[in-house]
């Protein structure tokens, strides 16, 4: 990577294409309907797959009799636990989280027990959808219904129904002798908490809860899988990581990785929820048994019942500060619902909870707790929005009690370069202060409010990741270029990679065509997640471009018969330099490409990197609300979201990320929740009653980009996709408090909850 900075670019140090706003390469296809999404592929002889799901929240599966389904004409294969290999427990790192192959296997197809309403228990492949559906009705599952638990705090009680009888809490000494629903305890500590609280003039302690919320991607999960007689397998699906799907299918079904090729489709949203597998291994197994391709597409109801939301959490935050506004100590107790299998984002939740602040004495204790709900999956900054919602509420309350402006109070304690984060590292250059200042100085922050209106501010942090990426650049005969990379584009990354490659090559972005390739057409690339793609894969593309420029200079040198050192690359042209300056007319990329055959063959290069030094992301949001005191309805009047992007490669798509995160966060704050009946069945598996905001619910989200360059990227890029979902819940809650004097501690702050709190004149129920 060291090559990138000095040797490439347009020569004069300023950026020509990075920072501009051309049309996105995938835009026209998306608005005209030409883009091919997960469900759009059809193959000859393809069968329709359907999944049978448990109607029970917790039940032992005594017996599954699929004989009638197998006998139904048109049914070509049935898969139950008996057709799926038994996979041993093995934890493997997966970006921001860890996954266990045994749990994953049991999540895609239940084994001894069904652990949530919607848990897959069988699947069929048939010649038509109608036959597949009929076949599901013919499968007899004998369930022994068991007591279930939905709530995280109830699940931690000693008398709670236990989901896994081999789960003995990790991270506590001594390891308990009885199994429980607490998978592990996480602990971080720094300084001296007692001393810190003793120094405080004011201490605030509050308990908060949040509900699991779904990523709400518009495109349901969809897959076509085809297993050939020779063992070669092909999978087409909508995913955030084709290499992840390949590894998971290989491990779950005992297939060599080299025998599986996964092609990602265009993706209709993921937000972290498409980093796991549900249908892919099942479809592939069905295809192996049927000898024909199998397509499975989830309904929206299945998406809600069986695919990952993020955790709900229960949190207690205690924080102390001096009269003059210095936070002296902070303590957090966090419990996150993992769903039916361990692996909530409790770790990142603990890492991020106090990260926006420089606090000497702090302690965080976190618990990963299983409950009878679908296994959680990543969702934008997994874990951070939950804990930071709680912490930012307490920060706000302290500021209010001290009579200090909430932005000023945050600025007085803000993390900066050199601040040591509770989880270990010292921050490099970060933009926490810059986003706070931009928010405080915004016009929005000082416009007057009307009756029943309130303003809230909140800051959020997400660490962002780098990781493994490959990129290949092929120079075409006419001097255009193709960048091949391996990250499904969920947030405009094709545009940002195109721009970075164009910058490094010195040619206009419209001459660079980005392509997201299948697993056999590009080297291993970690999935699209952790806000890593523009940073890491962008850097791989810059590296590949650097190698291409190297070759272009060599070819020009050959044509001119001068040393390569005497050829410089500027604005897409080779130019003789030094003592040869002016000897020849500059030669364009097109001219060099046209002669490539004669000068050594095709011009192409690949870079493979493990990108380190992702720049952490800070954002500060300001929200105005109006509260209808008679109905509890909250209207978001105005919203400004400031974020440090390091360098906004394509500002429009950075703004899009900021707006999208804010919109999702407002939904999380106000209305989104899973509603279970007393039997643990999900009552609102659809967008009608799972109330994500619609366009008319939101004002224009004003996105403000701040640029504090990340020194570890040639153009200064930081990830931007996740941070914007961290501040909104607290910004909205703080605004409601400002409007009504009531601190809402439980999400969602839906009209019935807020009205109840208003009528009781105090904190809302549950806290």
């Amino acid at each position: 990577m060291a090559t990138a900075k000095q040797e490439i670019g347009n020569g004069n140090g300023s950026l020509k294409y990075v920072g501009t706003r051309p049309w996105r390469p995938d835009g026209v296809d998306k608005v005209t309907g030409r883009a091919k999404f997960g469900a759009d592929l059809s193959l000859p002889g393809m069968l329709v797959g359907r999944v049978l799901r448990s109607p029970h929240a917790h039940a032992r599966i005594r017996c599954i009799d699929a004989s009638k389904a197998r006998a139904l004409p048109g049914v070509k294969a049935v898969v139950t636990r008996d057709e799926m290999p038994e996979v041993p427990s093995q934890w493997v790192p997966a970006g921001e989280v860890q996954v266990n192959y045994r749990d994953m296997s049991q999540n895609v197809m239940a084994r001894e027990k069904a652990l949530y309403d919607g848990h897959a228990v069988a699947a069929v492949a048939a010649t038509t959808a109608a036959i597949a559906k009929q076949a599901l009705d013919l499968i007899e599952v004998d369930y022994e219904v068991l007591p279930h638990v939905i709530d995280v705090r109830e699940a931690m009680q000693a008398d709670a129904p236990v989901l896994h009888d081999d789960m003995f809490t990790q991270g506590v000494e001594p390891t308990p002798e009885t199994p429980s629903n607490v998978f592990k305890k996480v602990h971080f500590q720094s300084g001296d908490l007692d001393k810190g609280f003793a120094e405080a003039d004011i201490v605030v302690e509050r308990t908060f809860t949040t509900k699991p919320v779904h990523q709400g991607y518009i495109e349901p999960h969809a897959v076509v899988a085809s297993a050939g007689e020779d063992g070669q397998c092909e999978v087409w699906c909508c995913t955030q990581g084709q290499f992840t799907v390949r590894a998971y299918c290989a491990n779950l079904l005992g297939i060599d990785i080299g025998n599986i090729r996964v092609t990602p489709s265009e993706i209709g949203g993921g937000f972290g929820g498409k980093t796991v597998v549900y249908l892919e291994p099942v479809a592939l197994r069905l295809s192996q048994l049927a000898g024909r391709p199998v397509k499975i597409v989830m309904s929206r109801e299945e998406v809600f019942r069986a695919s990952g939301p993020t955790s709900g959490g229960a949190m207690t935050i205690k924080m102390g500060a001096t009269k003059d506004g210095k936070i002296t100590a902070a303590k957090a107790w966090l419990a996150y619902q993992a769903g039916a299998f361990p692996g909530s984002p409790i770790q990142p939740g603990c890492m991020c909870v106090f990260a926006p602040y420089d606090i000497e004495n702090a302690e965080v204790e976190g618990y990963d707790v299983v409950v009878n709900r679908p296994k959680v999956a990543a969702y934008r900054a997994p874990g951070a929005p939950i804990s930071e919602f709680a912490a930012e509420g307490v920060v706000d309350e302290i500021a209010k009690k001290l009579g200090i402006d909430p932005a000023e109070f945050r600025l007085m304690n803000a993390a900066k370069e050199g601040t040591r984060a509770l989880y270990g590292p010292k921050f490099g250059p970060v933009g926490c202060i810059e986003t706070l200042e931009a928010a405080r100085n915004s016009e929005h922050y000082s416009i007057p409010l009307g009756p029943n209106q309130g303003r809230g501010i909140a800051t959020g942090f997400w660490f962002n990741i780098g990781g493994e990426s490959c990129a290949t650049i092929n120079v075409n005969e006419d001097g255009t270029a193709t960048v091949i990379e391996g990250n499904p584009d969920i947030g405009g990354s094709r545009a940002s990679i195109q721009l970075q490659a164009a910058e490094a090559l010195g040619i206009p972005p419209e001459k660079v065509r980005p392509l997201v390739a299948d697993t056999d057409s590009i080297g291993y690339t970690f999935l699209t997640g952790g806000s890593r793609v523009t940073f890491a894969t962008g850097m791989a593309a810059i590296d590949a471009a650097g190698k291409v420029v190297e070759q272009l200079r060599e070819r020009a040198a050959k044509i001119w018969d001068i040393p390569v050192e005497a050829v410089e690359w500027e604005d897409g042209y080779a130019k003789p330099s030094g003592s040869n300056a002016g000897d020849f007319e500059p030669m364009s990329m097109a001219e060099i490409a046209a002669q490539a055959g004669k000068t050594g063959g095709p011009i192409a290069a690949t870079a493979s990197i493990n990108a380190q030094g992702a720049g952490p992301g800070f954002g500060t949001h300001v929200c105005d609300v109006e509260v209808d005191r008679e109905t509890g309805r909250v209207t978001v009047l105005r919203y400004t979201a400031v974020q440090d992007a390091g360098k906004a490669v394509h500002p429009s798509y950075v703004e899009g990320q900021i707006q999208g995160g804010a919109a999702q966060g407002i939904g999380w704050a106000l209305n989104e929740e899973y509603i279970y009946d007393k039997d643990g069945r999900l009552e609102n598996p659809g967008f009608l009653d799972y109330r994500m905001p619609v366009a008319s619910d939101l004002p224009m989200i004003d996105a403000v980009i701040v640029e504090v360059p990340n020194p570890n990227h040639p153009y200064g890029v930081r990830g931007v996709g996740e941070t914007p979902i961290v501040p909104p819940m607290a910004a909205v809650a703080n605004a409601i408090e400002n409007a009504t004097g009531i601190r809402m501690t439980d999400l969602p702050m839906s009209p019935p909850r807020l009205l109840e709190a208003l009528d009781n004149g105090g904190a809302n129920g549950g806290s």
């Binding site: 008679e630 009552e683 009653d689 109330r691 009205l755 109840e756």
Partner: protein, 290 residues
């Protein structure tokens, strides 16, 4: 797989005959914005669908003397453009126009909204407030049924086999009349009413209320006509006390359930709030219709 027959008759008589003579379950189709969704999710499995949209009587809007007649299958988009109805009963039109989106408006009808049988149907409280009466045709002839009597329980109607709603008849309102409908949803669009309230009222020259009707939705197993609501307003100048009494009457009439869309306590309280707010709009309209 069972088969599904589709017919599109051009007269009321043919429609009634097809529905009455069918072997299995037969269902009329207006805009299909409820029916098609229910078909796709297997909520209903009819053997025969009878499209009503080719029958002129169901697609017309006519004004005859003192009556306004709206065909049961007229879409929201069409009714919204009808000057006679929008000026006479703006609350009814607004209620119908609240349904769904632009796409849904091209299809959704008053007849479908009522005959789907939902206690939360948006246009129904407004129709009740307007005093609308359904003209029903069936194998045993025609009859008239007040809107508030049509729905007998969630998804249940007083219509017999083969009976369809042909049209809604509303009186031409006298001078100084106004109506309004408000619903509460947590979002701004694409949601089902947690509470709906329709109010119609008429004032005399002195500004005293001489006639009033209150319809409520989503607060009981069926949409409600709240007689005590009318009593609270009639004989008053619709002042704060009268409005408070109206709100109390609305809340008292509620018999809701706790469900995913709202709690009992919430619905009871908000029914009163919306009744009062709707009455204020109706009052404003009545005063400007002098």
């Amino acid at each position: 797989m069972s088969s599904l027959r589709f017919e599109a008759p051009e007269t009321v008589e043919d429609a009634v005959r097809l529905l009455a003579d069918a072997d299995g379950e037969a269902m009329p189709l207006a805009g299909g914005t409820d029916l098609l969704v229910q078909l796709r999710t297997d909520f209903v499995r009819p053997g025969l669908i009878v499209d009503l949209k080719r029958i002129p009587a169901l697609m017309d809007v006519t004004v005859n003397g003192d009556d306004i007649r709206v065909g049961a299958a007229v879409s929201g988009a069409t009714l919204g453009k009808n000057k006679a109805v929008t000026s006479a009963w703006p609350g009814v039109v607004e209620a119908l126009e609240l349904i769904g989106s632009t796409q849904i408006q091209g299809r959704a009808s008053l007849g479908g909204n009522l005959c789907n049988g939902s206690p939360a149907a948006d246009s129904v409280p407004a129709l009740i407030a307007a005093g609308a009466v359904c003209e029903v045709a069936g194998p045993n002839g025609a009859r008239s049924v007040p809107v508030e009597d049509v729905i007998t329980g969630p998804g249940q109607l007083c219509l017999g086999p083969g009976e369809i709603v042909v049209s809604f008849v509303m009186p031409k309102p006298p001078p100084r009349s106004g109506d309004a409908y408000l619903r509460f949803i947590p979002r701004t669009e694409m949601d089902i009413a947690v509470v709906g309230a329709g109010v119609a009222l008429t004032l005399d020259e002195a500004g005293v209320c001489t006639h009033a009707r209150l319809g409520l939705g989503a607060v009981a197993p069926t949409p409600l006509l709240v007689e005590d609501g009318a009593k609270a307003l009639i004989g008053t100048k619709v002042d704060d006390d009268a409005l408070a009494n109206l709100a109390a009457a609305a809340s008292a009439a509620c018999n809701p359930i706790d469900d995913k869309r709202g709690t009992i306590a919430y619905r009871v309280k908000v029914a009163g709030v919306l009744a009062r707010r709707a009455a204020l709009i109706a009052l404003e309209r009545a005063r400007s219709n002098g």
